[in-house]
């Protein structure tokens, strides 16, 4: 069970959205991390055979996914970034429709839908129209539809975007539970989404993979140290210009900063353990502060 992409590129006019990426994935959770516009969604759509690469090939167990066609799509569960649904259908009718186009027999589909709606916690809303669901509930239905065919490959593109912190935690746990015996590719620009559940992390920037490995490998590979120090309020700007600053917290006697530096930034600086968020700050800099990235 191997999803492999070799030299994959995708060009939109003058923009090279994905630039010659190669990688191989097997079972487990893979976190694809990058700022908005890094090329994550384009890569996802190619992996889901929604769009073809301009160059390179994507294979499943050695066979081209576009040639496999129906057989590949039968293994696939996909929740796109902009989860579109049919607003006037009820939740259960929507699920039945998706089940039908996934080739699931109606009697099997009914049982599966019941299980999945219970799993994602929307079974009591099954009669409600999709358009009346909150963003969080709709996303849960989105996960459920992706799981209908018990996919071997589960592709989730920004599944927690726009959700409140509670919903996000709930989602993380849900995704974590789904990872058994399948390949889960989770794309996000929210560090905490992947930090706890992804076994492998792929950092993507400007269409390229510039780091792949575990969370520990990522943090231990940092040349910069993570420091915590309290500085006078009037010096905060100087520090922010000189170092990548992750946290700014007002405390008595000044401002406590969490920043990245190869050497201690001040006499009172205390070395902290690096987290994935620090890695993100290091590699993506200010862009890491895009919407929702602080969570």
């Amino acid at each position: 069970m191997e999803l492999r992409f070799k030299g994959v590129s995708k060009q939109y006019g003058d923009v090279l959205a994905v630039d010659n990426v190669s990688y191989s994935m097997e079972t487990g959770v893979y976190g694809l991390l990058g700022v908005n516009g890094a090329g994550k969604t384009t890569l996802m759509t190619m992996l889901c055979a929604v769009t073809r690469p301009t160059a390179g090939e994507i294979t499943w167990d050695g066979k081209d996914i576009f040639r496999l066609g129906e057989r590949y799509r039968d293994l696939l569960g996909y929740l796109p970034q902009n989860f579109g649904f049919y607003p006037d259908l009820s939740v259960s009718d929507y699920m039945m429709y998706i089940a039908s186009i996934k080739g699931i027999r109606p009697d099997t589909a009914k049982k599966r839908i019941k299980e999945l709606l219970e799993m994602v916690g929307v079974s009591k809303y099954k009669g409600r129209k999709m358009k009346t669901l909150s963003g969080g509930m709709a996303r849960r239905v989105g996960i459920a539809q992706a799981m209908l065919n018990d996919p071997k490959i589960l592709v989730l593109d920004e599944p927690t975007a726009g959700l409140d912190p509670n919903e996000r935690i709930r989602f993380r746990n849900l995704i974590s539970g789904l990872a058994e015996d399948r390949l889960v590719l989770l794309s996000t620009h929210i560090v905490s989404d992947v930090e706890f559940i992804a076994e492998q992390i792929i950092l993507m920037k400007d269409g390229k993979f510039f780091f792949t490995g575990t969370s520990e490998e990522l943090t231990s590979g940092m040349e910069e140290g993570v420091w915590s120090c309290t500085v006078p309020s009037d010096k905060v700007n100087q520090y922010m210009q000189k170092y990548p600053v992750g946290n700014v917290k007002h405390v008595s006697g000044g401002v406590e900063l969490r920043l990245l530096s190869k050497t201690p930034p001040s006499e009172n600086a205390v070395r902290e353990e690096a987290t994935l968020e620090d890695v993100f700050l290091l590699y993506f800099g200010e862009k890491a502060g895009d919407e929702d990235a602080e969570i």
Binding site: T51, D88, K102
Partner: protein, 412 residues
């Protein structure tokens, strides 16, 4: 899968509103058709209000006193009866609608049109002359006139042969039965069909457009059957929805109208009011022709709008195409002198007039008349377009979709 697709179609709020409006339209047009019938009682009072509903039936009952074959003797009786009424009327202009013993004007006009071939307009003087005419040879005159028409309107010997053959199918003597309901309904049904074909185009386009408009297409096209059976079912659903909506609308319209006005005159030949048309069909058959051609127009409308939506990934352009096809092309037909212009889809929704045209399509020695030709042509076009819709959908590429949408927005 098809059941789910249809459920999706019929559960859509916009579609529900449109379908309700269409059915309501059918009811309104039915009552307008009934309202077109006016019955004048012996006191020359035109019925109004609720009693108007029965006007059709009452007219039918009175006119059908003259029902049967229009033999020369019956035509002579009608002419004589008209003359007597005229003599007894103080102003010399009898009101045949209030004179319950008088002949239907339909019979008098039929006879007058056989004697008066040079002018389409029949004057009262032409009717007056009928009483003085010997009708013994009316059908010989009719047959001679038909032959003259065949020679005049045929452009090739093959066309003349076809016209002669068609005219040869007209049965003499022509039979008569009151056909007012069919006459009114042929016109009113066409008016309703003109609306139906445009609305059906919009509804069918929506089946494809919904995926793109709601951004549900990425999930759709990544499912197992998203590029094969599911697409095929979308197309079938489009055609099935077209069929259901069209026949439900026409069914309600016909049921109410004919239920109130009656179905008398189904077997009356169309030659009764236009003796020289080349289609040997009855009034009832002409109504069926109008609605069947309307159905073909609806299928064509659905196929074209679905294809354009599948190509453009939006229905915003597609929904205007039926308007061009059926409403704007009317102007082309009106302004043109070229026969080829009569083959535009508009003809499908204008069968009532199309039957009057002497338009042919000839390949070698084989001659086709306008109506059967456009029927076969547009059924074929509707079917031929279906694989293209399938192809466009099943080869969906989100990258192209982004490009197309951005282009559309740029143009806008």
């Amino acid at each position: 899968m098809l059941k789910c697709e249809l459920k999706k179609f019929f559960s859509k709020k916009t579609n529900k509103a449109i379908l309700t409006a269409l059915l309501l339209g059918a009811v309104i047009i039915s009552f307008l058709a009934v309202d077109n019938m006016s019955y004048t009682d012996t006191g020359e009072e035109i019925t109004t209000g609720f009693s108007k509903i029965t006007a059709g039936r009452r007219i039918e009952a009175e006119k059908n006193q003259w029902k049967g074959e229009l033999t020369p003797e019956k035509i002579a009786d009608a002419a004589k009866s008209y003359h007597e009424l005229k003599q007894s009327d103080s102003e010399g202009v009898p009101n045949l609608e209030s004179e319950k013993t008088g002949p239907p004007l339909d019979i008098l006009y039929f006879a007058a049109k056989i004697y008066q071939t040079e002018n389409d307009v029949i004057l009262l003087a032409d009717l007056d002359r009928l009483a003085e005419t010997d009708h013994g040879h009316i059908y010989d005159t009719y047959a001679d006139n038909l032959q003259d028409v065949a020679v005049e309107y045929a452009k090739t010997p093959e066309q003349e042969k076809l016209l002669t053959e068609q005219f040869g199918k007209i049965k003499f003597p022509v039979t008569y039965e009151a056909y007012d309901a069919w006459e009114i309904m042929a016109e009113d049904a066409e008016m309703y069909i003109m609306v139906l074909v445009v609305v059906i185009g919009f509804l069918a386009a929506g089946i494809i457009d919904e995926e793109f408009r709601t951004h549900a297409e990425k999930i759709f096209f990544t499912t197992k059957y998203g590029r094969s059976k599911a697409v095929r079912n979308k197309i079938i659903a489009g055609m099935l929805a077209t069929t259901i909506v069209y026949w439900a609308g026409i069914g309600i319209l016909s049921l109410i109208s004919f239920g109130l006005m009656g179905v008398s005159g189904f077997d009356t030949p169309c030659q009764i009011d236009d003796p020289y048309i080349m289609y040997t069909i009855t009034k009832g058959q002409r109504y069926l022709l109008v609605v069947v051609c309307g159905y073909i127009a609806s299928l064509l409308s659905a196929a074209v709008t679905m294809l354009v939506t599948a190509k453009m990934h939006t229905e915003k352009v597609a929904v205007f195409i039926p308007i061009l096809m059926y409403w704007v092309s009317y102007i082309v037909v009106r302004l043109t002198v070229v026969d080829a212009a009569y083959f535009v889809p508009y003809i499908l929704v204008n069968m009532d007039n199309a039957a009057k045209y002497y338009i042919f399509f000839q390949i070698g020695n084989v001659v086709f008349r306008l109506i059967p030709f456009v029927m076969v042509l547009y059924v074929a076009v509707s079917i031929i377009l279906l694989p293209f819709i399938y192809r466009s959908c099943s080869r969906y590429d989100s990258a192209k979709s982004i490009k197309k949408r951005s282009k559309y927005l740029e143009v806008k």
